[in-house]
Symmetry: C2
């Protein structure tokens, strides 16, 4: 219900606490109370009260005093990174990645398991056992683990915590992954779309904090888009924001299962790029497009050959970049963002080619090109951005109530 309600004072306290924690977390050297007043706009009294509570809870600690001329020395407050942890799990058709993050957002442990298995129960079992192994291996106190975030391909049924029918996870139909993982791990579990989680992971680094918004383009087995605006990941009404698979980018492209032609799903995905290269005679045979591991390997080979200067391979990558350069302006023109960040499991291989080609191609098609040029960058989190983002969903829920939380709910 969209009727706005009044603001809630106790929640405002939570909100201000999260603002202070975030300011401390983002400062490399820590901040004094005076600096916090400057940074947050809150009163000295509020800063004193909240920091006392955070000290009591062990979330922050005093870390040295600075004497700046006369007056009392300033006490620097730092985040205690080891005060809380979160686990992030990324369910990708090729690989399951599990990370353990501390409260600073740093990855403390990581484990990636490649599995050709598609059976939901066995996959969930692998996920749960990997979570256990990562926590055990880290020697972190389980009681300090705030929860498990799971990033999965969309669309999701948020209410049921279920994965509906991801195109590349055959046999997955309305799997209630949230409850399954909660039962097997014993932790509170939060389910998020992989693309949304990835954007949140990028947001947590603080690297793009100077922008009011950025579009994250996720290059995985599928292509997705997500959006961070005013420091919050946009989730949409059903937590399914960012389905872009059936946007047409190649009017001459192959037929798509949706009845259309040249959709992102049949043109921009790794299996589409590899399939086109195979049809162009760059490989002696064709791999099964559903064999995600074979496709991944072939895309890697294509990039290696392109880097080595093979013209056919370079052309294949150039065509892929041109198609992506048709998708990105569709998204930036609609969403009106300050920046584009690319990432996901396939980003690292394509990085150098795409960063060279995309900015010019995208700018020429931008509806606001007369006004500005939109910078295009690569992820700073790296290939684990889905798993890292999934853990950030948990850290986020624990530590940073959102501006929207200030409004009373029915």
């Amino acid at each position: 219900m969209a009727m706005r309600r009044g603001t809630n004072l106790p929640r405002m306290g939570d909100f201000n606490q999260s603002v202070i924690l975030e300011a401390i977390r983002r400062s490399v050297e820590g901040l004094s109370r005076i600096e916090l007043v400057d940074a947050t706009g809150l009163s000295a009294q509020t800063v004193t009260n909240i920091t006392r509570r955070l000290l009591d809870e062990g979330l922050i600690a005093e870390a040295g005093r600075t004497i700046n001329g006369p007056g009392k020395p300033r006490v620097t407050l730092r985040l205690v990174a080891e005060s809380r942890f979160a686990v992030g799990v990324h369910l990708d058709p090729v690989v399951i990645t599990v990370v353990l993050l501390d409260m600073s957002g740093a990855v403390r442990r990581r484990c990636a398991v490649r599995t050709g298995d598609k059976d939901p129960e066995r996959i969930a079992d692998v996920m749960a056992r990997t979570v256990e192994a990562v926590i055990d291996d880290s020697a972190v106190d389980r009681d300090l683990v705030a929860g498990v975030g799971v990033a999965a391909p969309g669309p999701l049924d948020d209410e049921k915590g279920a994965v509906i029918d991801p195109p590349k996870l055959h046999g997955w139909r309305r799997v209630p992954l949230r409850d399954v993982m909660a039962d097997s791990s014993g932790f509170e579990v939060m389910l998020e779309k992989d693309t949304v989680a990835a954007a949140l992971g990028e947001q947590w680094t603080g690297r793009w904090a100077a922008d009011r918004s950025f579009l994250f383009v996720y290059l995985g087995t599928g292509i997705g888009a997500s959006l961070v605006r005013d420091a919050e990941a946009v989730r949409g009404s059903t937590r399914n924001f960012g389905e872009v698979g059936h946007i047409i980018v190649d009017p001459d492209g192959p037929a798509c299962g949706c009845g259309g032609r040249g959709c992102v799903e049949v043109v921009c995905t790794p299996q589409a790029i590899v399939g086109r290269a195979e049809r162009d005679g760059l490989f002696d045979d064709a791999v099964d497009p559903d064999d995600v591991q074979a496709v991944e390997q072939r895309l890697g080979e294509l990039c290696t050959r392109a880097k080595a200067g093979e013209e056919g391979a370079s052309n294949a990558i150039r065509v892929a970049a041109e198609h992506l350069a048709l998708l990105i302006p569709v998204l930036t023109d609609l969403l009106d963002v300050d920046r584009v960040v690319l990432g996901g499991p396939y980003w690292e291989r394509l990085r150098d080619f795409y960063l060279e080609m995309l900015p010019g191609l995208v700018h020429r098609r931008s509806a606001t090109r007369a006004l500005r040029s939109i910078p295009i960058d690569g992820t700073v989190v790296g290939e684990d951005v889905g798993a890292v983002g999934a853990a950030c969903v948990v850290l986020d829920a624990v530590l940073t109530p959102r501006a929207s939380d200030l409004l009373l709910e029915d």
Copy 2:
């Protein structure tokens, strides 16, 4: 800068005042203080303090007492619709529409001027004179007019308050419309994209308040999209949210100036629909596609003939609906909204055809069709939605600080 800051108590007061005003505005019969406590979640003391201020300022008035059993009678508080007014101007290539709204959002006066003229100075002059005429004619005290909202085709340069280069307004290049209108009218002027203004106009009716979000599809000389989420119009980073002209909806469609083929701009617009009908032999000759008035007339004729049962004309409209039915799922899949509302200058003619055909076509292509069906409706504001929305931009700025305003700015 996206760094979040603390909440600001004085602004929270403004915010709570706006919440109370909105609750009173949306109630048809008015609300008592007790009902306001229920509706807003604010304390009785806060409601008493704020309503006293609103009474002093003349924005609300006491309107009768209700006795409900024992205890003090309840005083009903109603909005004083005549306490403030706003002017909305819609600059469309075919027609300039000016409306005067009172604080309830009701249209008090309306004037539409058709002009084939494209010269920016003369157009601005017509706009300013029509604003004067509408205010004079209404006999409203100029001091009660809070400002003038101008809805114009995008993209806009928000910083300079300028219209950059609307495709159908030849000769308009970076016209600083905001300052021009402010100088000629003497009012404060707010410039908004026509599509964003239209969504805001719909939002102000309260008709869609049960949804957390809706997509507004604007059918004008150009096609645009806009989004209301959590009761706020989404504007994007440069106030240019919703440019959809170069999304490909017909792989077999005609070439577009952008270098692509089958874009919304050359397939879904009135001139595209009329052009296709002309090529199909439904008319004896072809009108100049830049002659917006001739195109408008021909589209009207096409609809009339389709309504009369002429097969060729029906087919032409059906094809237009099918193309729009390719655009809408692209937008709803990306934005993840609860509802689609269609409107704009050309809506009324196409209404019956589109409302019959679109829901089924759109649902079949929706990425979340396994989860839900997204309702599709027509505007409740009508053909003046751009001008009404422009006036709502002013009412909105005056009366309803947003949740985001609760955060301190640097």
